[in-house]
């Protein structure tokens, strides 16, 4: 970019194993504007999951990358994304958060659109004459709409690379989620929508940050131990079956942390047996090795720029974060579940997920508080310019407690903002899970 006073944004010093991020990137309006142009106007941006619109004519209206969109399954079953703005004067044609509608009628002058986008009625249409191009005045779809394993993305750049290429090795992490259900992983009713007074990138970092677990979530860990469970981030019995413990660069700025499952507090004997049966069913479908990877490891995956999938053995959180300014972020959280699991197990997973996640959980409020404290601290940016993200850079294989996954995000971020290339760090996904399974996704 031209003319910013804040460069360099990132110092990636491999020789001294130091990785620094300029705190101006969290406060600068100029940087925020560039992020909107370079990321949210051009990259693949997550809209929603196909299971949110299960029946023909189901829809949700939501903000995606700063735009109001309608996420809808049309009458023939095709999932579509339409910009929620009337071709006539621009009013939002859909004013409900969700529902089931064949037609969206703009209440300003009454122009009406089918949920395919087609303009089907203009009141007093004769006044426009016979040559009025009604057929060209449907609701507009983003130039690119595509999905991977139920996750629907849009891009406002017609020339963006194909979604599967864009996702890179993040696809394997999405497969590990999608393969947990034979009938299709399903978003639960209930959406967490909340805000924070902090830069959106702080939440990306936080969403894959193992290091903060012991300090920010000490009360959660104490709760688990009080209930007789040893959380996965505590030192483990080394005689137990070895498990990966790695931050992994997935390409294109996507990254994950992969480690052993975390404990399950308050699980009844009935729920334990149902979970064991569920595991046996999955082994039958996918084999022991893949099932162990799906079920006995946890993954915090970030998909550049602003989608997070936290796949823990008690729940799967899908989360997006969009900036509304350098200092403010809108956050949405959903919960994915295998719809065919027994009701008792489903109820257990929901309770366990709620105990941690969301605005009323025992963990998420402390994350929001931590990130807002960072943002307040950035008022010292003229005196304190750099944040340190070097942890584990001295290692060949940084762990989930290190910061490789954040450096992966920042290297991509810096490349898109400045054109500076950086070589990747750490083992690949297939090296972590074992070369013998390289052919398996």
């Amino acid at each position: 970019m031209t003319g910013p006073t804040t460069q360099p944004f990132v110092i990636d010093d491999r020789e001294r194993s130091r990785f620094l991020v300029n705190r101006n990137v969290f406060v600068s309006d100029e940087v925020y504007q560039r992020e909107k142009e370079l990321f949210f106007d051009r990259l693949w941006i997550y809209v929603g999951h196909e299971s949110e619109v299960p029946k023909p004519n189901d829809f949700h209206s939501r903000q995606v990358a700063g735009r109001p969109v309608i996420f809808v399954r049309d009458g023939k079953g095709e999932v579509r994304v339409l910009l929620n703005s009337c071709r006539h004067r621009g009013a939002q044609v859909c004013r409900e958060g969700k529902g089931n509608n064949k037609i969206f009628t703009c209440f300003y002058h009454g122009w009406a659109y089918r949920n395919t986008g087609a303009l089907v009625n203009i009141p007093d249409a004769e006044a426009y004459g016979p040559d009025f191009p009604k057929g060209e005045l449907g609701l507009v779809a983003p130039p690119r709409v595509d999905s991977y394993r139920g996750f629907v993305f849009i891009s406002f750049d017609p020339g963006v690379e194909d979604l599967t290429d864009y996702l890179g090795n993040a696809r394997h992490l999405m497969d590990l989620v999608a393969n947990q259900s034979e009938s299709g992983m399903t978003i639960l009713p209930g959406i967490h929508r909340y805000s924070m007074k902090a830069n959106w990138k702080l939440l990306i970092e936080n969403s894959c940050d193992g290091y903060h677990g012991m300090s920010v979530h000490q009360t959660y860990i104490e709760m688990m131990m009080d209930l007789g469970v040893t959380p996965g981030i505590m030192p483990q019995d080394e005689k137990a079956r070895p498990a990966p413990n790695s931050g992994i660069d997935l390409g294109n700025g996507h990254a994950t942390t992969m480690m052993r499952e975390i404990g399950l507090p308050m699980m009844s004997d009935g729920a334990k047996e149902l979970a064991a049966q569920r595991r046996r069913d999955l082994v039958e479908l996918h084999g022991e090795e893949y099932t162990a990877r799906m079920y006995n490891l946890t993954r915090n995956t970030i998909i550049f720029p602003s989608l997070v999938i936290v796949d823990l053995n008690f729940g799967i959180q899908v989360r997006t974060m969009y900036p509304t300014g350098p200092n403010s972020t809108e956050i949405t959280g959903w919960q994915l579940i295998a719809p065919e699991i027994a009701e008792e197990l489903k109820a257990y997973r929901i309770d366990n997920a709620l105990s941690f996640w969301g605005p009323g959980g025992l963990a998420t409020p402390d994350d929001v508080a931590a990130l807002e404290q960072c943002q307040r601290g950035f008022a010292t940016v003229k005196e304190l310019e750099w944040s340190d993200i070097s942890k584990g850079m001295v290692k060949d294989t940084p762990t989930t407690m290190d910061e490789l996954q954040m450096r992966t995000f920042w290297r991509r971020w810096n490349y898109l903002m400045t054109g500076e290339q950086a070589r990747p760090e750490g083992p690949t996904y297939h090296q972590v899970i074992g070369a013998d399974t390289a052919g398996v996704s």
């Binding site: 929508r193 920010v216 709620l354 009323g360 508080a369």
Partner: protein
């Protein structure tokens, strides 16, 4: 004033309920959370339904809070620790409880509705949580208890609240 509590739900008046709810609000505002916990039955449930489907079962949806007694005790224990970072130092809260109604009785249970406006003030901001309570109270020898305490928010998005780190 000491009175013998009424164990017949049908004889409990709205004033009795108001006294109970006002005392409860004061315990929360004063952060006397362990005393507050004594107002709950062993089989209690504390819940905040999802903002976008408040009519749905908080235990079957991605709601906001669905605490059994065990988890409620953990929530209280946590909030009283200085390591509950979102509430350190403790925010100030002020609860306005109004429009209290007894909707019906069933055995020893009373179905109670009330409106609330809970203000939360910390060093940085003042936010407000608005909604209604749908409680199931039990009339026992030692007074009224919550069997089911449900706070239904009217908010559609937690902006600017950002979090619900206090008890609503």
């Amino acid at each position: 004033m000491t009175t013998t509590p009424n164990t017949d739900a049908g004889l409990i008046t709205r004033t009795d309920i108001e006294d109970f709810l006002y005392r409860e609000a004061a315990l929360l505002d004063e952060w006397r959370l362990n005393e507050w916990l004594e107002l709950f039955t062993p089989d209690c449930l504390y819940e905040i339904p999802a903002l976008d489907c408040p009519q749905d079962d908080a235990g079957r949806t991605f709601s906001i809070v669905h605490d059994s007694r065990v988890l409620l005790e953990q929530r209280v224990a946590r909030l009283l620790k200085p390591t509950a970072h979102a509430e350190f130092p403790h925010s100030r809260t002020r609860r306005l409880i109004t429009c209290v109604r007894i909707l019906g009785t069933h055995g020893d249970e009373l179905m109670v509705a009330a409106n609330f406006s809970v203000h939360r003030i910390d060093l940085y901001a003042h936010v407000e949580f608005v909604g209604r309570y749908e409680h199931v109270l039990v009339a026992g020898r030692d007074g009224l208890r919550f069997r089911h305490r449900k706070a239904v928010l009217d908010l559609q998005v937690l902006q600017p609240q950002g979090k619900i780190s206090i008890i609503l």
